[in-house]
């Protein structure tokens, strides 16, 4: 292992979500500064990002793998979830923060994922790449759990 980076490449299938969560949580636990609450935040956020990636692959029938990279820094853990389908997804068109308390919002069973990632992670960025979409999630050891 070099530079504290851990990489995982998974088939784009929901059965692998629990594996991803387990690996990310175990990696995060290597940082003694990250409390259980923050690890739980990260576990959920990564699960959301990976779920979206699996859906993107399923929608386009891709059999490529999804990659998850955990970068352990001194005071932070950064996880990047990258799909490998060109879906034409434009992060610029994403309306966020999506108001969860908007009237009628709960009529829709979906759409909780991205807002949850935004509140659970200290930083969340979505980048559109030539060969897919990357979601970057950062959790800092020093910050208290976000409200």
């Amino acid at each position: 292992m070099s530079d504290g980076v851990i990489s995982l490449a998974i088939p784009a299938q929901p059965e692998y979500l629990s594996l991803v969560r387990a690996v990310v949580a175990a990696a995060a636990a290597l940082d003694p500064g990250l409390g259980d609450d923050r690890i739980e935040d990260l576990r959920i956020a990564v699960s959301e990002a990976t779920t979206n990636a699996i859906e993107a692959h399923a929608n386009l029938g891709s059999e490529d793998r999804i990659t998850i990279k955990c970068d352990l820094g001194d005071d932070r853990i950064e996880v990047e979830v990258q799909d490998h389908v060109v879906s034409g997804f434009d992060p610029g068109t994403l309306e966020y923060p999506s108001p969860l308390d908007e009237p009628g919002r709960l009529d829709n069973e979906g759409g909780f994922g991205i807002p949850l990632m935004r509140v659970l992670a200290d930083e969340m960025k979505i980048r559109s790449l030539d060969h897919g979409t990357a979601v970057q999630l950062v959790v800092y050891a020093s910050s208290a759990a976000k409200d």
């Binding site: 995982l8 929901p14 059965e15 629990s18 969860l100 308390d101 919002r105 709960l106 069973e109 949850l116």
Partner: protein
Amino acid sequence: MTGTVRHDALRSAPVTLLVEVAAWGGWTVLRVHGEVDMATGPQLRKAVVDQIGGGRNHLIVDLADVSFIDSTGLGVLIGGLKRARSQGGDLKVAGIDDRLERIFELTGLGDVLAVIDLDAPQHAEVSGLP
């Protein structure tokens, strides 16, 4: 590529949710064990749909033994609530710890999903319905 791990060997690992069904003062309790995500959410959805299809539309989903739930699982709860209410019933949740309570707050689910304490004495508000 240092550190890249491939886990094909786990491909066939069972990803199942155990849902126990019990009666509770006129309500039907679905006690869920496991993790509720995209892999297992359909199992919970089916359990809810099966109960409502069988005429049991006053449901309590007990999450005390759920070690993880994400937006897919939350969506299943919302779908179950809508389905139950469309049949004249209701859906409540139980077994909510601090961690789940926070997620419910963050998503606004706490405003629409009533939480009940299954250990409390069964009072009229909950048990008197059907």
